[in-house]
Amino acid sequence: MEHDGTALRSGSGAALGFARALSEDITAFVLGENLEAMAGEAAKLAPVLVADHPALAAPVADRWAHVIAEVARAQNAELIVATSTTWAKDIVGRAAGLLGGAMASDVIGHEMVDGELHLRRPMFAGAVNATIVLEGSPKIITVRPSAYDAPTAATTPFTIEAVATDAFDVEKLPNATQFESLDRKTGARPDVTEARIVVSGGRAFKNSEDFEQHVGGLADALGAATGSSRALVDAGITPNSLQVGQTGKIVAPELYLALGISGAVQHLAGMKNSRVIAAINQDPDAPIFEFADYGLVGDVYEEVPRLIAELNSSQ
């Protein structure tokens, strides 16, 4: 279960939801240091195993993957599941490399067929869904948070257990990587991967001030997060952390508002599973409209201020 040092990440329960759909015998594993709060949260969803140790203070891949692999072996785990994030790709990916490499990333669906676990996952920036079977055990799987719900919270919490003292040898932990710092994104707006509404801007915006005024302004009127196409990040208009797409964040909010975004394949890969998609674009033939439920053909510099004004006047 991924956490940020103080709380579980909001999508982390999706991995438990996937595991629960396949088995009654599941364990939530939390590792790090000072884990009381996170273990308590996880215990609402499943029995918890904790590895709480000062040597695990920062999430460095070689150490954490080593512990995950050792604990998975000791537990005879057949399936290791995590919610797909940069943390899971880095650390659980390395653990999979220690456990034989039968791994599927970004799973969005599954089915048991003749006793075999069929997994569905996007490829080619989401242009294709592939169905695959993993050969070998254990199987390591990351799931998209939008594809699976966390199990319902139990009224009586499950048990919390510490890993056996000999589960891993602190002396033998890899020591080749040192954590130096984390520059946390701070801002008043919600995180783009966790927000209920995302307002995203594309090439139509000419500079950071215009982006902030229009995309930021509409996001604030809606209580939404802001997102951005790759073009604006490449042009230095928006920071990397806002990029939605195959190579950026994958989001699936209740509402995705695409402003002046043409709809390149790699952008669509990051947002097309949103529940409702609305687009404003000057080009009536922009591909984004094929992936939208509602479309307005027009200039974002004219239409967005009208939306903001109407939202603000109705409050």
Binding site: G101, M103, I132
Partner: protein, 250 residues
């Protein structure tokens, strides 16, 4: 020092894909291939290291592909790589076996640094670098947006969901490139012509002593088309009314 850059040959993401008749793969007819864009960023970074911190560096591009995969290795040579190695292999590969083949090459070449793309834009697995680091027991720095040589190791800025993380690793190490690490150069015409004359070293999985052990079996594929029907509205006010109907906007 030696820098090894694994280079994957991938279908050009800007073309329309069709499935093969059995719908278990992409139809290879008329498919054009390119060097995986993230691997091109890794090649560029290796060249910049040779041009700045380590003029003695030797940059080696390595690819696992059928014989025609030479073309994509020549892209790396035209950019400025010193040597290129093709591990000739027909048929599918998965990250586990790619990592095993690369580990065999690494055992032979003994590079100080392996620089590779964070993911290939065909299978989007984002696993090979992590598997390779695990197999070798080397430190890893994934999703790198900045690399700096310090004392006897590296300081790497990593793009994570929580923000930019900075870590230090010892060498040898595996570093995977994120989009913002650099902007790869275009090869000049003279260097493209020179690259055509360079020889490409050849080997095979058998010569490397690696028996492939498939970890991923492909059952089928489907092309994803939009299932949405776009309702066009005339004014911003109408758009807002529609969004209120869906109850996602109050």
């Amino acid at each position: 020092m030696k820098i090894l850059v694994p280079c994957k040959r991938v279908p050009d993401p800007d073309q329309k894909l069709r499935l093969n008749a059995e719908t278990v793969g992409i139809d290879p007819a008329a498919l054009t291939y390119i060097l995986n864009p993230f691997d091109a960023i890794a090649v560029e970074e290796a060249l910049r290291i040779r041009e700045t911190a380590h003029p003695d560096a030797e940059v080696i591009a390595v690819s696992i592909a059928p014989a025609e995969g030479e073309a994509d290795l020549r892209t790396a040579l035209a950019m400025g790589a010193d040597r290129a190695l093709l591990i000739e292999h027909n048929g599918p590969t998965d990250p586990w076996n790619v990592a095993r083949l690369l580990a065999a090459v690494i055992e032979h070449e003994q590079p100080t640094l392996v620089l590779m793309g964070k993911q290939a834009v065909d299978d989007d697995a984002n696993q090979t670098g992590q598997f390779l680091a695990a197999q070798l027991g080397w430190p890893q720095a994934t999703f790198a947006s900045q690399i700096e040589f310090i004392d006897d190791g590296l300081r790497v800025h990593r793009e994570t969901d929580l923000g930019i993380e900075v870590i230090r690793t010892t060498l040898p190490a595996i570093v995977t490139a994120d989009l913002r690490l650099n902007e790869p150069r275009y090869a000049s015409l003279p260097s493209i012509l020179r690259a055509k004359k360079k020889s490409i070293e050849q080997t095979t999985p058998a010569e490397l002593g690696v028996q492939l052990e498939p970890r991923v079996r492909l059952i089928g594929m489907e092309l994803i088309n939009s299932q949405r029907h776009c309702e066009k509205v005339e004014t911003a006010s109408n758009l807002l009314a529609k969004l209120r109907e869906t109850e996602v906007v109050e």
